[in-house]
Symmetry: C2
Subunit: 187 residues, 2 copies
Protein backbone atom coordinates (compact mmCIF):
# COMPACT_ATOMS: atom_id res chain seq x y z
CA UNK A 1 0.00 0.00 0.00
CA UNK A 2 1.43 3.33 -1.04
CA UNK A 3 2.37 5.78 1.69
CA UNK A 4 -0.05 8.50 0.58
CA UNK A 5 -2.89 6.00 0.39
CA UNK A 6 -2.22 4.80 3.91
CA UNK A 7 -2.03 8.39 5.17
CA UNK A 8 -5.27 9.38 3.48
CA UNK A 9 -7.03 6.30 4.78
CA UNK A 10 -6.02 7.20 8.31
CA UNK A 11 -7.08 10.82 7.88
CA UNK A 12 -10.44 9.67 6.51
CA UNK A 13 -11.04 7.36 9.44
CA UNK A 14 -10.23 10.08 11.96
CA UNK A 15 -12.42 12.58 10.12
CA UNK A 16 -15.28 10.12 9.77
CA UNK A 17 -15.18 9.33 13.47
CA UNK A 18 -15.32 13.03 14.31
CA UNK A 19 -18.12 13.83 11.87
CA UNK A 20 -20.21 10.78 12.78
CA UNK A 21 -19.79 11.64 16.44
CA UNK A 22 -20.94 15.20 15.86
CA UNK A 23 -23.70 14.68 13.35
CA UNK A 24 -24.64 11.01 13.52
CA UNK A 25 -24.16 8.06 11.22
CA UNK A 26 -26.18 9.73 8.44
CA UNK A 27 -23.86 12.72 8.16
CA UNK A 28 -22.76 13.97 4.76
CA UNK A 29 -19.80 12.10 3.31
CA UNK A 30 -18.71 15.34 1.64
CA UNK A 31 -18.20 16.77 5.09
CA UNK A 32 -16.07 13.79 6.01
CA UNK A 33 -13.88 14.29 2.94
CA UNK A 34 -13.58 18.01 3.64
CA UNK A 35 -12.62 17.49 7.26
CA UNK A 36 -10.01 14.97 6.14
CA UNK A 37 -8.77 17.51 3.57
CA UNK A 38 -9.11 14.88 0.90
CA UNK A 39 -11.06 14.73 -2.35
CA UNK A 40 -14.44 13.06 -2.32
CA UNK A 41 -13.18 10.61 -4.92
CA UNK A 42 -10.52 9.43 -2.52
CA UNK A 43 -13.12 8.72 0.12
CA UNK A 44 -15.17 6.58 -2.25
CA UNK A 45 -12.09 4.74 -3.48
CA UNK A 46 -11.19 3.68 0.05
CA UNK A 47 -14.73 3.07 1.27
CA UNK A 48 -17.21 2.26 -1.50
CA UNK A 49 -20.25 2.46 0.75
CA UNK A 50 -21.27 4.28 3.91
CA UNK A 51 -21.48 0.96 5.74
CA UNK A 52 -17.92 0.13 4.77
CA UNK A 53 -16.80 3.42 6.28
CA UNK A 54 -18.88 2.86 9.40
CA UNK A 55 -17.54 -0.64 9.76
CA UNK A 56 -13.98 0.64 9.47
CA UNK A 57 -14.42 3.41 12.02
CA UNK A 58 -15.85 0.89 14.47
CA UNK A 59 -13.26 -1.74 13.69
CA UNK A 60 -10.86 -0.97 16.54
CA UNK A 61 -13.66 -0.55 19.02
CA UNK A 62 -15.19 -3.91 18.18
CA UNK A 63 -11.77 -5.46 18.37
CA UNK A 64 -11.29 -4.22 21.93
CA UNK A 65 -14.84 -5.23 22.80
CA UNK A 66 -14.06 -8.81 21.82
CA UNK A 67 -10.70 -8.66 23.58
CA UNK A 68 -12.15 -7.36 26.87
CA UNK A 69 -14.95 -9.87 26.77
CA UNK A 70 -12.56 -12.78 26.30
CA UNK A 71 -10.36 -11.57 29.13
CA UNK A 72 -13.07 -11.22 31.74
CA UNK A 73 -15.23 -14.17 30.75
CA UNK A 74 -12.85 -16.66 32.36
CA UNK A 75 -13.78 -15.44 35.82
CA UNK A 76 -17.51 -15.03 35.29
CA UNK A 77 -20.55 -17.21 34.89
CA UNK A 78 -21.59 -17.76 31.30
CA UNK A 79 -24.75 -15.75 31.74
CA UNK A 80 -23.02 -12.84 33.43
CA UNK A 81 -20.40 -12.77 30.69
CA UNK A 82 -23.15 -12.67 28.09
CA UNK A 83 -24.90 -9.90 29.97
CA UNK A 84 -21.77 -7.74 30.00
CA UNK A 85 -21.17 -8.51 26.33
CA UNK A 86 -24.67 -7.33 25.49
CA UNK A 87 -24.27 -4.22 27.60
CA UNK A 88 -21.04 -3.32 25.86
CA UNK A 89 -22.56 -4.02 22.44
CA UNK A 90 -25.36 -1.62 23.30
CA UNK A 91 -22.80 0.93 24.34
CA UNK A 92 -20.98 0.73 21.03
CA UNK A 93 -24.24 0.80 19.10
CA UNK A 94 -24.77 4.22 20.65
CA UNK A 95 -21.48 5.92 19.87
CA UNK A 96 -23.00 7.47 16.75
CA UNK A 97 -26.58 8.65 16.64
CA UNK A 98 -28.41 6.39 14.21
CA UNK A 99 -25.84 3.62 14.20
CA UNK A 100 -28.06 1.20 16.11
CA UNK A 101 -30.52 0.91 13.25
CA UNK A 102 -27.85 -0.60 11.02
CA UNK A 103 -25.94 -2.51 13.68
CA UNK A 104 -26.77 -5.82 12.06
CA UNK A 105 -25.45 -4.73 8.67
CA UNK A 106 -22.35 -3.10 10.10
CA UNK A 107 -21.48 -6.25 12.04
CA UNK A 108 -21.58 -8.09 8.73
CA UNK A 109 -19.31 -5.58 7.01
CA UNK A 110 -16.45 -8.04 7.26
CA UNK A 111 -13.82 -6.03 9.09
CA UNK A 112 -11.59 -7.79 11.55
CA UNK A 113 -13.21 -6.23 14.60
CA UNK A 114 -16.73 -7.00 13.50
CA UNK A 115 -15.76 -10.58 12.87
CA UNK A 116 -14.05 -10.86 16.25
CA UNK A 117 -17.11 -9.48 17.99
CA UNK A 118 -19.57 -11.82 16.33
CA UNK A 119 -17.27 -14.77 16.99
CA UNK A 120 -17.01 -13.83 20.66
CA UNK A 121 -20.77 -13.38 20.95
CA UNK A 122 -21.32 -16.78 19.41
CA UNK A 123 -18.85 -18.33 21.82
CA UNK A 124 -20.53 -16.77 24.87
CA UNK A 125 -23.97 -17.72 23.70
CA UNK A 126 -23.04 -21.35 23.09
CA UNK A 127 -21.32 -21.57 26.47
CA UNK A 128 -24.39 -20.21 28.23
CA UNK A 129 -26.60 -22.63 26.35
CA UNK A 130 -24.34 -25.58 27.17
CA UNK A 131 -24.66 -24.73 30.84
CA UNK A 132 -28.42 -24.55 30.55
CA UNK A 133 -28.54 -20.87 31.41
CA UNK A 134 -30.02 -19.79 28.08
CA UNK A 135 -32.73 -21.40 26.01
CA UNK A 136 -31.46 -23.49 23.14
CA UNK A 137 -33.48 -21.81 20.42
CA UNK A 138 -31.83 -18.41 20.78
CA UNK A 139 -29.43 -17.33 18.04
CA UNK A 140 -26.79 -14.63 17.98
CA UNK A 141 -28.95 -12.56 15.64
CA UNK A 142 -31.54 -12.45 18.39
CA UNK A 143 -29.01 -11.04 20.83
CA UNK A 144 -27.97 -8.42 18.28
CA UNK A 145 -31.63 -7.59 17.83
CA UNK A 146 -31.84 -7.03 21.58
CA UNK A 147 -28.91 -4.69 21.44
CA UNK A 148 -30.67 -2.74 18.70
CA UNK A 149 -33.87 -2.49 20.72
CA UNK A 150 -32.11 -1.36 23.87
CA UNK A 151 -29.99 1.17 22.06
CA UNK A 152 -32.99 2.57 20.20
CA UNK A 153 -34.90 2.77 23.43
CA UNK A 154 -32.06 4.52 25.21
CA UNK A 155 -31.66 7.08 22.44
CA UNK A 156 -35.31 8.09 22.64
CA UNK A 157 -35.00 10.45 25.57
CA UNK A 158 -32.29 12.41 27.30
CA UNK A 159 -31.86 10.21 30.35
CA UNK A 160 -31.88 7.07 28.25
CA UNK A 161 -28.37 5.84 28.94
CA UNK A 162 -29.18 5.37 32.60
CA UNK A 163 -31.74 2.75 31.67
CA UNK A 164 -29.34 0.58 29.71
CA UNK A 165 -28.14 -1.66 32.53
CA UNK A 166 -31.68 -2.31 33.69
CA UNK A 167 -32.99 -3.08 30.22
CA UNK A 168 -30.02 -5.32 29.53
CA UNK A 169 -30.55 -7.31 32.70
CA UNK A 170 -34.20 -7.62 31.94
CA UNK A 171 -33.75 -9.06 28.51
CA UNK A 172 -31.00 -11.40 29.57
CA UNK A 173 -33.47 -12.70 32.12
CA UNK A 174 -35.86 -13.30 29.27
CA UNK A 175 -33.33 -15.58 27.61
CA UNK A 176 -33.29 -18.05 30.49
CA UNK A 177 -35.25 -21.25 30.27
CA UNK A 178 -38.68 -21.10 31.91
CA UNK A 179 -38.11 -21.51 35.62
CA UNK A 180 -40.42 -24.45 36.28
CA UNK A 181 -38.10 -26.44 34.03
CA UNK A 182 -35.12 -25.87 36.29
CA UNK A 183 -36.50 -24.99 39.70
CA UNK A 184 -36.23 -21.57 41.27
CA UNK A 185 -33.86 -19.27 39.47
CA UNK A 186 -31.02 -17.97 41.56
CA UNK A 187 -31.07 -14.21 41.65
Amino acid sequence: MRADARRNRDRLLAAADAVFTERGADASLNDVAKRAEVGIGTLYRHFPTREALLGATCDERFLTLAQHSRERSASLSALEALRLFLEELVHYAGIYQGLAASLGIVLRSGTEGCHATTAEGQRLLEAAQREGEVRGDIRLDDVVCMAMAISLSASQDASGTKRIPRLTGMFIDGLRPPCDARGTRPR
Copy 2:
Protein backbone atom coordinates in the same frame (compact mmCIF):
# COMPACT_ATOMS: atom_id res chain seq x y z
CA MET B 1 -62.51 22.03 4.04
CA ARG B 2 -62.84 23.01 0.41
CA ALA B 3 -63.93 20.33 -2.05
CA ASP B 4 -60.76 20.49 -4.15
CA ALA B 5 -58.61 20.25 -1.04
CA ARG B 6 -60.44 17.15 0.13
CA ARG B 7 -60.18 15.58 -3.32
CA ASN B 8 -56.45 16.28 -3.57
CA ARG B 9 -55.86 14.94 -0.09
CA ASP B 10 -57.55 11.67 -1.01
CA ARG B 11 -55.62 11.39 -4.26
CA LEU B 12 -52.37 12.01 -2.37
CA LEU B 13 -53.12 9.32 0.18
CA ALA B 14 -53.92 6.75 -2.48
CA ALA B 15 -50.82 7.66 -4.47
CA ALA B 16 -48.61 7.62 -1.38
CA ASP B 17 -49.80 4.18 -0.38
CA ALA B 18 -49.09 2.87 -3.86
CA VAL B 19 -45.64 4.44 -4.12
CA PHE B 20 -44.59 3.48 -0.59
CA THR B 21 -45.72 -0.09 -1.23
CA GLU B 22 -43.74 -0.25 -4.45
CA ARG B 23 -40.59 1.58 -3.46
CA GLY B 24 -40.54 1.74 0.34
CA ALA B 25 -41.07 4.46 2.89
CA ASP B 26 -38.07 6.42 1.59
CA ALA B 27 -39.52 6.81 -1.89
CA SER B 28 -39.37 10.20 -3.57
CA LEU B 29 -42.20 12.51 -2.59
CA ASN B 30 -42.05 14.02 -6.06
CA ASP B 31 -43.10 10.64 -7.38
CA VAL B 32 -46.03 10.62 -4.99
CA ALA B 33 -47.15 14.04 -6.18
CA LYS B 34 -46.77 13.02 -9.81
CA ARG B 35 -48.75 9.82 -9.34
CA ALA B 36 -51.48 11.85 -7.62
CA GLU B 37 -51.38 14.34 -10.53
CA VAL B 38 -50.94 17.14 -8.05
CA GLY B 39 -48.27 19.81 -7.58
CA ILE B 40 -45.49 19.12 -5.12
CA GLY B 41 -46.50 22.22 -3.20
CA THR B 42 -49.91 20.72 -2.62
CA LEU B 43 -48.35 17.62 -1.14
CA TYR B 44 -46.29 19.63 1.32
CA ARG B 45 -49.22 21.81 2.28
CA HIS B 46 -51.30 18.79 3.23
CA PHE B 47 -48.45 16.81 4.77
CA PRO B 48 -45.59 19.02 5.99
CA THR B 49 -43.25 16.10 6.67
CA ARG B 50 -42.75 12.61 5.34
CA GLU B 51 -43.78 11.24 8.71
CA ALA B 52 -47.07 13.11 8.56
CA LEU B 53 -47.79 11.49 5.20
CA LEU B 54 -46.75 8.08 6.47
CA GLY B 55 -48.89 8.52 9.54
CA ALA B 56 -51.87 9.43 7.39
CA THR B 57 -51.46 6.47 5.02
CA CYS B 58 -51.25 4.14 8.02
CA ASP B 59 -54.08 5.80 9.86
CA GLU B 60 -56.82 3.32 8.95
CA ARG B 61 -54.56 0.35 9.53
CA PHE B 62 -53.60 1.50 13.00
CA LEU B 63 -57.23 2.13 13.73
CA THR B 64 -58.10 -1.47 12.95
CA LEU B 65 -55.09 -2.68 14.89
CA ALA B 66 -56.37 -0.95 17.99
CA GLN B 67 -59.90 -2.17 17.32
CA HIS B 68 -58.85 -5.82 16.93
CA SER B 69 -56.70 -5.66 20.00
CA ARG B 70 -59.52 -4.30 22.11
CA GLU B 71 -61.90 -6.96 20.86
CA ARG B 72 -59.71 -9.95 21.59
CA SER B 73 -58.10 -8.71 24.80
CA ALA B 74 -61.25 -9.43 26.83
CA SER B 75 -60.73 -13.16 26.47
CA LEU B 76 -56.96 -13.27 26.95
CA SER B 77 -54.46 -12.88 29.72
CA ALA B 78 -52.93 -9.43 29.93
CA LEU B 79 -49.53 -10.71 28.92
CA GLU B 80 -50.83 -12.71 25.96
CA ALA B 81 -52.81 -9.70 24.78
CA LEU B 82 -49.67 -7.58 24.97
CA ARG B 83 -47.71 -10.21 23.05
CA LEU B 84 -50.25 -10.24 20.23
CA PHE B 85 -50.30 -6.45 20.20
CA LEU B 86 -46.54 -6.39 19.79
CA GLU B 87 -46.65 -8.99 17.05
CA GLU B 88 -49.26 -7.03 15.14
CA LEU B 89 -47.32 -3.80 15.59
CA VAL B 90 -44.30 -5.50 14.07
CA HIS B 91 -46.45 -6.66 11.20
CA TYR B 92 -47.66 -3.15 10.43
CA ALA B 93 -44.13 -1.77 10.77
CA GLY B 94 -43.30 -4.00 7.81
CA ILE B 95 -45.98 -3.00 5.33
CA TYR B 96 -43.57 -0.52 3.73
CA GLN B 97 -39.89 -1.33 3.41
CA GLY B 98 -38.07 1.04 5.75
CA LEU B 99 -41.09 2.10 7.74
CA ALA B 100 -39.81 0.45 10.91
CA ALA B 101 -36.94 2.91 11.20
CA SER B 102 -39.37 5.76 11.78
CA LEU B 103 -42.13 3.86 13.55
CA GLY B 104 -41.66 5.86 16.74
CA ILE B 105 -42.02 9.19 14.98
CA VAL B 106 -44.92 8.01 12.87
CA LEU B 107 -46.82 6.86 15.95
CA ARG B 108 -46.44 10.37 17.31
CA SER B 109 -47.72 11.97 14.12
CA GLY B 110 -51.02 12.65 15.82
CA THR B 111 -53.48 10.93 13.48
CA GLU B 112 -56.50 9.24 14.94
CA GLY B 113 -55.24 5.73 14.26
CA CYS B 114 -51.80 6.37 15.71
CA HIS B 115 -53.38 7.81 18.79
CA ALA B 116 -55.75 4.87 19.13
CA THR B 117 -52.87 2.43 18.81
CA THR B 118 -50.68 4.11 21.40
CA ALA B 119 -53.66 4.42 23.75
CA GLU B 120 -54.41 0.73 23.34
CA GLY B 121 -50.76 -0.20 23.91
CA GLN B 122 -50.70 1.89 27.04
CA ARG B 123 -53.86 0.25 28.26
CA LEU B 124 -52.52 -3.26 27.71
CA LEU B 125 -49.21 -2.43 29.33
CA GLU B 126 -50.81 -0.97 32.42
CA ALA B 127 -53.17 -3.92 32.74
CA ALA B 128 -50.26 -6.35 32.54
CA GLN B 129 -48.36 -4.35 35.13
CA ARG B 130 -51.35 -4.21 37.46
CA GLU B 131 -51.58 -7.98 37.34
CA GLY B 132 -47.89 -8.30 38.11
CA GLU B 133 -47.10 -9.89 34.76
CA VAL B 134 -44.82 -7.10 33.59
CA ARG B 135 -42.29 -5.07 35.51
CA GLY B 136 -43.42 -1.70 36.66
CA ASP B 137 -40.55 0.27 35.18
CA ILE B 138 -41.34 -0.55 31.57
CA ARG B 139 -42.73 2.19 29.37
CA LEU B 140 -44.66 2.06 26.16
CA ASP B 141 -41.67 3.54 24.35
CA ASP B 142 -39.72 0.42 25.25
CA VAL B 143 -42.36 -1.77 23.63
CA VAL B 144 -42.34 0.37 20.51
CA CYS B 145 -38.57 0.09 20.34
CA MET B 146 -38.91 -3.66 20.54
CA ALA B 147 -41.22 -3.58 17.56
CA MET B 148 -38.74 -1.42 15.66
CA ALA B 149 -35.81 -3.68 16.45
CA ILE B 150 -37.69 -6.84 15.56
CA SER B 151 -38.90 -5.39 12.30
CA LEU B 152 -35.48 -4.01 11.39
CA SER B 153 -33.80 -7.26 12.30
CA ALA B 154 -36.33 -9.29 10.34
CA SER B 155 -35.89 -7.12 7.27
CA GLN B 156 -32.12 -7.44 7.33
CA ASP B 157 -31.90 -11.08 6.40
CA ALA B 158 -33.79 -13.23 3.98
CA SER B 159 -35.57 -15.57 6.38
CA GLY B 160 -36.40 -12.73 8.74
CA THR B 161 -40.16 -12.94 8.85
CA LYS B 162 -40.06 -16.48 10.23
CA ARG B 163 -38.23 -15.20 13.30
CA ILE B 164 -40.87 -12.66 14.28
CA PRO B 165 -42.97 -14.87 16.58
CA ARG B 166 -39.89 -16.16 18.37
CA LEU B 167 -38.46 -12.68 18.80
CA THR B 168 -41.70 -11.24 20.14
CA GLY B 169 -41.95 -14.11 22.61
CA MET B 170 -38.36 -13.53 23.66
CA PHE B 171 -38.87 -9.85 24.34
CA ILE B 172 -42.16 -10.36 26.15
CA ASP B 173 -40.46 -12.93 28.35
CA GLY B 174 -37.89 -10.33 29.23
CA LEU B 175 -40.59 -7.98 30.43
CA ARG B 176 -41.75 -10.33 33.19
CA PRO B 177 -40.65 -9.78 36.73
CA PRO B 178 -37.91 -12.10 38.04
CA CYS B 179 -39.62 -15.33 39.02
CA ASP B 180 -38.56 -15.55 42.68
CA ALA B 181 -40.60 -12.41 43.21
CA ARG B 182 -43.80 -14.12 42.19
CA GLY B 183 -43.19 -17.83 42.53
CA THR B 184 -43.13 -20.22 39.63
CA ARG B 185 -44.01 -18.68 36.33
CA PRO B 186 -46.82 -20.39 34.52
CA ARG B 187 -45.68 -21.36 31.11
